[in-house]
C-alpha cells in the first residue's frame, strides 16, 4: 500500500472517530464542509484512494478561493456551511407523497408540455417505488449499448467498473483548480453520468439522462464525463424539457467532454429548472462548468442549449480546440422572463492549426428579465489559420427587460479570422398584427415569432428535442405579451 493510501486510511479512520459512523445509515449528512466531510462522501461511495485524494486537493484549493462576483447578476449570498453535501438518493420522505401534494401550477405546466402522466409524477419528485415504463426502456437501452461496447452509466458506477478511465480523464478538461464552483464540485460531487465510446464506434442511439432512472437523484453537485475515443461519434441529451422540482438552491455541476482524433461529440441541453414561484422565490442558482476538449486531430464538439433559465443561470459551455483542424460549436437559446437573470455564453480557445469555431447565441428577454451574453474567442499564437464566426441576436419583448452582449476576442495569431455579427430586435407591432389579422392569437403569434428567431439553434437539436424546446419556450414566455 502506498504511503498516500495509508495516510488516507488513517484519516478516514480518524473521521469515524468524530462520530460520523452513526450518521452512515441516514440519508443526509449534517450541513458543513471540511476534510472529514469530503472523506465521508468518498467513503460512502467506496471510492478508490486516488479519488479521495483528488477530492481533498480540490477542497484545500477551494478554501483558498474567493466566490466570484459578476456585474450583471444579482446573487443573494450563499452560505456554504449551511449546505448538506451528501444526500443519498433523494429520500422519499422529502418528496410529495402523491400528485395531489404537488404544486398545481407545476402540473399544469407538465400537461401543457405533453409530459405523460406517469412521468409527471416522477419529475415532480413524487416518491413512487416502481419506476414505470422507463425501467424496460432503460433495460433495452443498456443491452443495445453494451452490444456496441458503449459504456453509459452513473458516474459512481463507472468509478467502480472503469477506474482507470476515471483516473486518466477526470479533471483533465476541467482541473480541480479551475474555478470556485468547479473546485467545490470536485471536492463534493456525488454523482452524474459517465460515457465512453470506443474507437470507431458510432453510438447507436441518442444518449439521454431522461432514460436513466437515477437521473433525478444526482443532486446539486453533478459530475459528467464523456470520452469519445478515436473516430467515434456520440450525441448526448441532457435534462428534459419539463420543469424540475428541486429543493436544492445551489447547483454547481461540471461536465467534461474529451474528443480524441476524428471523434465527434454532440451535447444538447434543453433545460428548465423549476423557477420557484411567480416572484422567482425559491428558484435555483445554476452555476455550471461545461467544457469540451478537442484533443485529437479533426475532432469536433458541438454544444447546443436551450435554457429557460433558473432564477439565476451562469454557464459558459466551452471548447478547447487543441487538435489540428478541430471544430467547436456553440448554439444557444436563453430565455428570461419575470425576474430571471441569465449570464451565458461560451469560450472558444483555439490552440491547434486550422481550428474552427462557430457561435450562435439567441437571447430572448421578456418581463423584467435580464439576459447577458458573454463570449470569449481566444486565438493562441500556435493557431495558424484559425477561424471563428460569432452571431449574437437578442429579442426583446416589452420595455422592462434587458439584453447585454459582451463579446471578447483575443487573437494572437495574425493569420486568424474572426467575424462577429450582432443584432437586437423587438417583436414588432406590425409582425404581431400581421399574425392576428390571419386569425392567430397573440400568444401563438409570439411563440411563432420567437421560434422563428431561434430557428438556427433549434435545427441543431435532435428532432424530438426540437419540438420539446418549442413547447418549452411557449410555456416560459406565457403572459409575456398581453
Amino acid at each position: 500500500m502506498s504511503e498516500n493510501a495509508k495516510q488516507l486510511e488513517q484519516l478516514l479512520g480518524r473521521g469515524y472517530q468524530h462520530g460520523f459512523v452513526t450518521e452512515i445509515d441516514s440519508d443526509t449528512v449534517p450541513p458543513g464542509l471540511d476534510e472529514d466531510m469530503v472523506r465521508l462522501i468518498s467513503h460512502k461511495k467506496q471510492e478508490p484512494a486516488f479519488l479521495t485524494e483528488w477530492r481533498l486537493k480540490a477542497l484545500r484549493h477551494w478554501l483558498t478561493m474567493k466566490e466570484p462576483h459578476w456585474a450583471h447578476l444579482k446573487v443573494a449570498p450563499i452560505d456554504y456551511q449551511s449546505i448538506s453535501y451528501y444526500s443519498a438518493p433523494r429520500s422519499k420522505k422529502d418528496g410529495p407523497k402523491s400528485l395531489a401534494e404537488v404544486d398545481p401550477k407545476l402540473l399544469e405546466t407538465y400537461a401543457k408540455l405533453g409530459v405523460p402522466l406517469h412521468e409527471r409524477a416522477r419529475l415532480a419528485g413524487v416518491a413512487v417505488d416502481a419506476v414505470f415504463d422507463s425501467v424496460s426502456v432503460a433495460t433495452t437501452f443498456k443491452e443495445r449499448l453494451a452490444a456496441a461496447g458503449v459504456v453509459f452509466c452513473p458516474f459512481s458506477e463507472a468509478v467502480r467498473t472503469h477506474p482507470q478511465l476515471i483516473e486518466q480523464y477526470l479533471g483533465s478538461v476541467v482541473p480541480y483548480t479551475d474555478n470556485f464552483f468547479a473546485t467545490l464540485n470536485s471536492a463534493v460531487f456525488t454523482d452524474g453520468s459517465f460515457v465512453y465510446v470506443p474507437k470507431g464506434v458510432r453510438c447507436p442511439m441518442e444518449l439521454s439522462t431522461y432514460f436513466r432512472i437515477n437521473a433525478l437523484n444526482t443532486g446539486q453537485f453533478e459530475r459528467t464525463l464523456i470520452i469519445a475515443d478515436v473516430g467515434s461519434y456520440v450525441s448526448y441529451l441532457e435534462g428534459c424539457s419539463a420543469p424540475q422540482r428541486d429543493e436544492n438552491q445551489l447547483h454547481a455541476a461540471v461536465v467534461e467532454l474529451v474528443a480524441l482524433e476524428d471523434a465527434y461529440i454532440k451535447y444538447s441541453t434543453v433545460q428548465n429548472w423549476y423557477p420557484g414561484d411567480a416572484d422567482g422565490r425559491g428558484g435555483i442558482y445554476n452555476f455550471v462548468t461545461k467544457r469540451g476538449d478537442c484533443r485529437g486531430r479533426n475532432s469536433h464538439i458541438s454544444w447546443t442549449q436551450v435554457e429557460t433559465g433558473s432564477a439565476i443561470t451562469w454557464k459558459y459551455p466551452s471548447c478547447v480546440l487543441r487538435g489540428e483542424g478541430s471544430i467547436g460549436e456553440f448554439y444557444s437559446v436563453a430565455t428570461v422572463n419575470n425576474h430571471q437573470q441569465a449570464d451565458t455564453g461560451t469560450k472558444m480557445i483555439h490552440i491547434g492549426r486550422d481550428t474552427r469555431s462557430t457561435i450562435v447565441s439567441k437571447g430572448i428577454s421578456a418581463g423584467h428579465g435580464q439576459n447577458t451574453y458573454r463570449g470569449l474567442v481566444k486565438i493562441l499564437p500556435s493557431a495558424h489559420g484559425a477561424r471563428n464566426f460569432t452571431q449574437c441576436d437578442s429579442l426583446l419583448m416589452g420595455g422592462q427587460c434587458g439584453a447585454h452582449t459582451f463579446p471578447y476576442v483575443e487573437a494572437k495569431n495574425p493569420t486568424a479570422t474572426v467575424e462577429h455579427e450582432a443584432s437586437t430586435s423587438k417583436i414588432s407591432d406590425e409582425q404581431l398584427f400581421y399574425c392576428l389579422s390571419r386569425g392567430i392569437t397573440a400568444e401563438d403569434a409570439v411563440n411563432m415569432i420567437v421560434s422563428g428567431f431561434c430557428k438556427s439553434v433549434f435545427k441543431e437539436l435532435p428532432m424530438e428535442f426540437a419540438v420539446e424546446a418549442q413547447n418549452l419556450l411557449a410555456v416560459s414566455l406565457e403572459g409575456a405579451v398581453g
Binding site: 406590425e430 389579422s437 386569425g439 392569437t441 411563432m448 422563428g452
Partner: protein, 255 residues
C-alpha cells in the same frame, strides 16, 4: 342600395390615429358577391380604413358603426374578425424571419377551423392546399421553405398575400394596393387569383391607384375617398374618368 343584403355595412365611421382624425364620417355598403374599388389621393385614409376594419391596435374608432354579416365588427378582436371571414391584404406585408410560410398558413387555417368547431388539419393537408394555390399564383416551390415574406421582392410579397387569401378563403377580402409594384404578368396573375375567388357569397374591396387592375378585375362599384370620406361613387367608368382627370375635380365637387 336597394334590397340586396349588405355583407359589410359602414355607417358614418370616424377614426383617429395617434389622436389625429383620419376617417371623418365614412359610409359604405358592400354586398355579398360584389367587388368594390376604393381609389383616392395619397394620405386620404384608404389604408386607415383597411386597418380599422381589420382591427389594428392604435386605430381608434371614435364614432359610427360597422356591421359585418350582422355582427358589430368593432367590438371583435382582430383575430376574431379574421376567423369570422375578414381578410386584409397588406399594402406593405411585414417580414417574419424564420417563421415558415406554410407554418403560418397552417396556424391560420386551424385557428379559423377551430373557431368553426371543425377538426384541425395537419401540415400535410395544408401543404397540399398551398401547393395547389401556388400553382395558380405561379409561385415556385422554394417559397414553401422560406420565412414569411423573408427576403421577398415587393411583387413576391403581394403575390404571397393573394396566396394566403386563396388558402384562407375569406368571406370578405380587403386588398390594399395589392397591384402596386407588380409587373404586367404578375398583375394578371394576381387578378386571376382575385377573380378565382369571386362568388355570390363572397365580396372584395380593392384599394388601388390604377385603372389597370380594374381592367382585369371588373368592379361593380368604384368609390373615391377624399379626406376620410367617400367623396364620390360610381361604376367602372368612374375609374376611367379618374385616370383621365385626376382627383382634384372630385375633391372640388365634394367640398
Amino acid at each position: 342600395m336597394g334590397a340586396r343584403t349588405a355583407m359589410l355595412s359602414i355607417e358614418d365611421l370616424q377614426a383617429r390615429v395617434d389622436g389625429k382624425p383620419i376617417l371623418n364620417g365614412l359610409t359604405l355598403e358592400v354586398g355579398a358577391g360584389e367587388v368594390h374599388a376604393i381609389m383616392g389621393p395619397n394620405g386620404s385614409g384608404k389604408s386607415t380604413l383597411a386597418y380599422v376594419l381589420a382591427g389594428r391596435p392604435g386605430y381608434e374608432v371614435t364614432g359610427g358603426r360597422v356591421l359585418f354579416e350582422g355582427r358589430d365588427l368593432i367590438t371583435l378582436a382582430p383575430e376574431e374578425r379574421a376567423r369570422a371571414g375578414l381578410f386584409l391584404g397588406f399594402q406593405y406585408p411585414v417580414e417574419i424571419p424564420g417563421v415558415n410560410n406554410v407554418y403560418l398558413l397552417k396556424a391560420a387555417v386551424n385557428a379559423a377551423r377551430k373557431a368553426r368547431g371543425q377538426p384541425e388539419v395537419d401540415a400535410f393537408e395544408v401543404l397540399g392546399l398551398v401547393r395547389e394555390k401556388m400553382a395558380l399564383m405561379r409561385m415556385e416551390d422554394s417559397f414553401l421553405s422560406r420565412g414569411v415574406n423573408e427576403g421577398f421582392s415587393g411583387g413576391e410579397k403581394k403575390r404571397n398575400e393573394i396566396l394566403q387569401m386563396l388558402v384562407l378563403e375569406p368571406r370578405l377580402a380587403i386588398l390594399d394596393e395589392t397591384d402596386s409594384g407588380l409587373d404586367i404578368d404578375a398583375l394578371k396573375v394576381v387578378a386571376a387569383g382575385v377573380n378565382s375567388q369571386r362568388s355570390p357569397e363572397r365580396a372584395c374591396v380593392l384599394v388601388t391607384h390604377y385603372q389597370r387592375l380594374l381592367e382585369y378585375v371588373a368592379p361593380d362599384f368604384v368609390h373615391v375617398l377624399v379626406r376620410g370620406r367617400i367623396a364620390k361613387s360610381g361604376d367602372r367608368s368612374l375609374a376611367l374618368e379618374l385616370e383621365r382627370r385626376g382627383y382634384d375635380w372630385v375633391a372640388g365637387e365634394a367640398a
